[in-house]
Each structure stands twice: as structure tokens, then as C-alpha cells.
């Protein structure tokens, strides 16, 4: 039928290449996993689980208050987390939280500089764009198997997959935001002899802030959308409940797990977004609370 096509297939080559890679270098990658786990992920998780829920809830409440300055929201966020505890999912919540803290931190640490760099170099953008496309659309499932053959099951490949998936929106929107900064302001800053770094800190980042924060919001959302996938490769947490809910057609359990993920997403998002607000907005907010007038 489709006679215009050559017959082409890399299936066998890919398969044997993966197997060879695993056989030859699998130990090395597994060692990396072990080091990351022992020195980093496991202690963090142990720490979080070890904390009394009261302390965690209080801590998050204080943090939320500091960021948001709005009782209603703070109470809603803390109540949401408390609800997860009532579902009996507190330990899993802490496991997922640990995973998310690590993934989001990594995403920001990689994504922000990458976006900044990209905004400065059209050539880099040309190279990076298809890579970002791949990161975002190559189904996680596809690389999950090779990745977990290399790194083993569990948290490390989960963090890896999450970062890969959550990175592109942050990079893209950072890039976009900086490119949209008013040229006249940039020119004025340059005229006073700003170094590229000063320009970035004083002009580009603050003025691109709304766009960057939208990128961060997307990154957080996508990271949390990966929680279930993370559980598919043996990472503990809220995703487990969703998975087992699905596998057993126990929609109730799945939904409870799913909504716990949503609550966590909203908590993380609201707090990061509030901290991402500009000084001026935060000031205005505080005044509004005080003055009572809109």
C-alpha cells in the first residue's frame, strides 16, 4: 500500500544498544542512584516523615501566612493538608512532598538559567527548542524503561523523569518573558554601564517576572502531574493510591489520592507564586489588609 515509503526500522539496534548499555554501564548509574539516595533523598524523606504532623502543618501555615498575608487562604491550605491526613495518607504525602521539593528545586535551578541563556542567544534557542519539544512530548513511558534499567527502580528515576517533564515550560516562559522586556528600559540600564549580570538582576528578571512565574506555575503543575508516573516506577507516595485505585477499579480510592495530589499542588503553587510577587504587589497587599479598602 504505502509504497512510497522505504522500510526502515531501528527497533533491533535500539534494543540491543540499550541492553549493552545496561550491561556495561548499568553498575555505574546504579552507583549514582545509591549515592543520591543515601546522602540526599532518603534522609530528606526520613526527616519529613519523622516530623510530627502538627509541626509540619504549623510550619506550612506560617510559611503561607508570610507569603500570602491572608487568613482565609492560609486556613484553606492548611485545612486541605489536614484533610489528606484524615484520609490516612499523611506518610505518603510526606514522601511525595520530599520528591516534589527535590524535583522543583532542581527544575528551578536548571530551568531558570537555561531560559535566561536562551533569551540571550538566538542560536542556542534554535538548538534547544527541539530538545525541549522532545522532553515534553516524548512519552515518559518510553524512556522510563531504559532509565530505570540504568538507575534502578524508585525515587531517582522518578526525580529525573519529573525534572525532564517539568523543565520545558519554565525554560520557555523565562525566555519569552525576558525577550519581551521593554527595550527602552534595557537601553537606559545599559547607558549607566550595567554588566550583563546587573542588567539581568535589575531589569530583565524583575520585568519578566509575571512570565517567569507563569512558567514556574506550569512547572509545579506538571511536576505534580508526574506523581502517578513516578509511582509507576516504584516511587512511594500519593501516586500509589491512585495507581492501586485504577488497577482495582477502586475509583473512590483513586480519587482521594488524586485530590490529595491536587491539594499538594495548590499549596506549593500558591506559596511559590506569592513569593514570586514583586515587592510592590506584596506591599500593596499588606496595605490593603491593613487599610481594609480596595
Amino acid at each position: 500500500m504505502n509504497s512510497i515509503f522505504f522500510d526502515l526500522s531501528f527497533v533491533d539496534q535500539i534494543n540491543s544498544a540499550v541492553i549493552r548499555l545496561v550491561a556495561q554501564h548499568g553498575d555505574f548509574f546504579h552507583d549514582i542512584t545509591r549515592i543520591l539516595l543515601i546522602h540526599f533523598l532518603v534522609p530528606l524523606e526520613k526527616f519529613l516523615i519523622g516530623l510530627s504532623p502538627v509541626v509540619v502543618l504549623l510550619g506550612i501555615g506560617v510559611l503561607a501566612w508570610h507569603a500570602l498575608r491572608r487568613w482565609t487562604t492560609v486556613v484553606a491550605l492548611v485545612a486541605g493538608l489536614y484533610l489528606i491526613g484524615c484520609f490516612g495518607l499523611w506518610d505518603k504525602l510526606m514522601q511525595t512532598l520530599a520528591l516534589m521539593l527535590v524535583s522543583t528545586t532542581l527544575t528551578i535551578a536548571i530551568g531558570l538559567p537555561m531560559g535566561i541563556w536562551m533569551s540571550a542567544s538566538p542560536r542556542l534557542r534554535k538548538v534547544l527548542e527541539p530538545v525541549l519539544d522532545v522532553m515534553q512530548t516524548l512519552p515518559t513511558f518510553v524512556y522510563l524503561v531504559p532509565v530505570l534499567m540504568l538507575f534502578g527502580l524508585g525515587k531517582v528515576p522518578a526525580v529525573l523523569a519529573t525534572v525532564i517533564y517539568a523543565l520545558p515550560p519554565l525554560v520557555r516562559l523565562t525566555d519569552l518573558g525576558i525577550r519581551q522586556v521593554d527595550k527602552e528600559v534595557v537601553e537606559a540600564s545599559r547607558s549607566f554601564g550595567s554588566t550583563p549580570w546587573q542588567l539581568l538582576i535589575n531589569v530583565n528578571l524583575p520585568l519578566a517576572r509575571p512570565s517567569i512565574m507563569a512558567g514556574l506555575n506550569q512547572a509545579v503543575m506538571m511536576a505534580l502531574a508526574m506523581v502517578v508516573i513516578a509511582s509507576m516506577i516504584g516511587s512511594r507516595g500519593l501516586g500509589e493510591d491512585v495507581l492501586s485505585g485504577i488497577n482495582n477499579m477502586d475509583m473512590g480510592r483513586g480519587l482521594q489520592g488524586g485530590f490529595s495530589i491536587v491539594i499538594l499542588a495548590v499549596v506549593i503553587d500558591r506559596i511559590t507564586q506569592a513569593y514570586g510577587k514583586g515587592r510592590r504587589e506584596r506591599q500593596a497587599l499588606r496595605q490593603k489588609r491593613k487599610g481594609g479598602q480596595a
Binding site: V11, A23, G26, V42, G152, L153, I233, S244, N248
Partner: protein, 319 residues
């Protein structure tokens, strides 16, 4: 022939997510299409999705049912589906705890020394917990277990309790069947020790040399305590063999008794199915290809399952 399949209906088969199920599916489809002129189609999807669809008669046939999910149980109770046939001779499928054989015997060719020469039964496991170390739970060994939500995952949890291994081993749930397979393959390709739950028929069984650990003998009362996750007071028992059946939706079964009759007769032995499945993984051949080859090579096996008339047609079609 009219009671085998109605001409205006396409029989929808669930796409099974493991090889033996795919092979059985291909066999049945070949028999029905070639022998009786039925129209069939495979709809892929996760097990939960396709099982749900079967209960709703969105799908008609779900081959290689292990009959362990709540969906299937409830579907049966409500009379929406029936489980028919006995696909694997010798009582059915087996499951249990496995290690690669080089762990016990070593592998001179790859230069691997036996790391647990005395490991024979689950009672030996506490000694070797450092060998099967779980990095995420330092101090414990790792039993690579079923994905969350599979029945075997819960059974394994109960078994760890019953075998008094709870303190020494984590029931490390692989998230999916694919993850489980990948983790095992990775360990074996690297020649590392690994302790895992597995079952047969399956391609890994044919592909690698594995050693099954002995478990306390089967005991029906204890087995019942293992099957129910809520029971605290567990006693040890090995898993019994599991009968593999074909799930059919009740409306389909009532209107197509002839097709159901074929499925009821269909049966392979462990060697046959494992041999065929290994073909699939080794050559990455599709189940359709392997099923055809199998039918060509073993006419005697399948001719028992169909009418003489249909057998002739199938033979003609295979040429």
C-alpha cells in the same frame, strides 16, 4: 456455524499487556476468523480499562484472565461476564519468589560467583538481606514485588508477614508490570543479585534461568488468610496453581455459544506456551506471527478444539 458468531458483529478482544495473553488472543482470533469467518478486532488499553469495558460489554473477550481483580469478581457476581475454559494444562499458572540461578550456582562464563549458595527456601532469606539490600530502606533487603493494585502485591505483603520476613525485607512495589520486568532484566544483564516475585507462563521464564524459592506447603486455610489483606493473623502457605480462563461478556456468551465452545476447549501446556512466548521476546515478533507459526507447526494441537469443517478451512488459510 450461525451460533459461532453473528456476521454483522465484530468481536472485540481486549489487548492484553503481557506476552502469553497476547499469544492466546492471537490463537483464538485466528481460529475464529479462519475457521468460522468471524470478524475480530483488538482494543488496547490498561487492564483495568479493558476489564471495565468487558463488564460493560464494550469488549466481548478478555483472554488469559487470572481472575483476581475486583472488577472481574464483581462483574462475575453481577452476572455481566463469565470465565470459561482452562488455558494452561497442569492445573494452571504458577507464581512465587525467584532469584536468578547465578545467585545460587554462580555463572562461570560471566565470572559471577555464587553469592547465596545456600539459598533454597524463603526461610533462608533473613541471612541474605544484605545481599538484596534496599537502598531506600537501609538495613533491609528488597523483595521486588508486584505493582500496586495487583492482587499478588497484597498477597506478597501477607506472605512477608506469614514468613516472618517483615522486619528484614521491604515489599518493594514496582509501579507497573513493565517496571518490574525492566528491573529484573537490568539486574540479570548486569549479573547482580535480585529477589523478586514472578509467575509462569511468561517470557522471562523462558528467557532466563531462574530459581524458585521453596515456600511452606499449600494449605487452603492459610491461603485464605493470605488472600485477604485485612487479616492480621496470617499463617504461611505457598500459592496454589492459578487457573487461567477466558473472560467473555455474558451477552456475547449467550448469543455465540459456538465461539465460547472453542475457547472452552483451547488448552496448551507450559512448554508450548513458554516456548512460543520466548519467540516473541527474542525475535520481537508479533503474537500474530508466532501464533501462525505455532499453528502451522502443531496442527494436532489445535485441531482438537474446532470442528472438522473449520479445521479444513484453517488449514487452507494457513497455507
Amino acid at each position: 456455524q450461525s451460533n459461532v458468531c453473528s456476521p454483522d458483529q465484530t468481536i472485540k478482544f481486549a489487548g492484553i499487556t503481557w506476552e502469553s495473553g497476547q499469544l492466546y488472543t492471537s490463537l483464538i482470533r485466528n481460529l475464529l476468523e479462519m475457521g468460522y469467518g468471524c470478524k475480530t478486532e483488538v482494543v488496547t488499553g490498561s487492564s483495568a480499562a479493558t476489564e471495565t469495558a468487558l463488564v460493560g460489554n464494550d469488549l466481548q473477550v478478555w483472554v488469559e484472565q487470572w481472575n483476581r481483580t475486583d472488577i472481574v469478581k464483581k462483574g462475575q457476581e453481577m452476572g455481566k461476564i463469565r470465565l470459561v475454559g482452562d488455558l494452561l494444562s497442569g492445573g494452571g499458572a504458577i507464581e512465587g519468589f525467584f532469584v536468578p540461578d547465578y545467585v545460587v550456582k554462580g555463572d562461570a562464563k560471566r565470572g559471577i560467583k555464587a553469592s547465596a549458595p545456600d539459598l533454597k527456601s524463603v526461610s533462608d532469606l533473613p541471612k541474605y538481606k544484605a545481599l538484596f539490600k534496599d537502598d531506600e530502606e537501609p538495613g533491609k533487603g528488597r523483595l521486588l514485588s508486584c505493582p500496586v493494585g495487583w492482587d499478588c502485591e497484597k498477597i506478597n505483603t501477607q506472605k512477608l508477614k506469614a514468613y516472618k520476613l517483615e522486619g528484614d525485607y521491604t515489599n518493594f512495589r514496582a509501579g507497573t508490570g513493565a517496571a518490574l520486568d525492566a528491573a529484573i532484566t537490568s539486574a540479570i544483564e548486569r549479573g547482580k543479585p535480585i529477589l523478586f516475585y514472578y509467575w509462569s507462563p511468561a517470557s522471562l521464564m523462558g528467557k532466563y534461568k531462574l530459581v524458585q524459592l521453596q515456600e511452606p506447603t499449600y494449605n487452603e486455610k492459610c491461603w485464605d488468610t493470605l488472600k485477604d489483606i485485612k487479616v492480621k493473623d496470617v499463617c504461611p502457605s505457598a500459592s496454589p496453581k492459578n487457573k487461567l480462563t477466558v473472560g467473555v461478556s455474558t451477552p456475547f456468551a449467550t448469543s455465540n455459544p459456538g465461539a465460547v465452545a472453542v475457547m472452552e476447549k483451547l488448552q496448551l501446556n507450559a512448554d508450548q506456551i513458554n516456548g512460543a512466548v520466548v519467540q516473541m521476546t527474542d525475535r520481537k515478533a508479533s503474537s500474530d506471527v508466532v501464533a501462525r507459526e505455532f499453528m502451522k507447526a502443531n496442527p494436532a494441537v489445535w485441531q482438537k478444539w474446532v470442528s472438522a469443517d473449520a479445521a479444513n478451512k484453517i488449514n487452507a488459510a494457513l497455507k
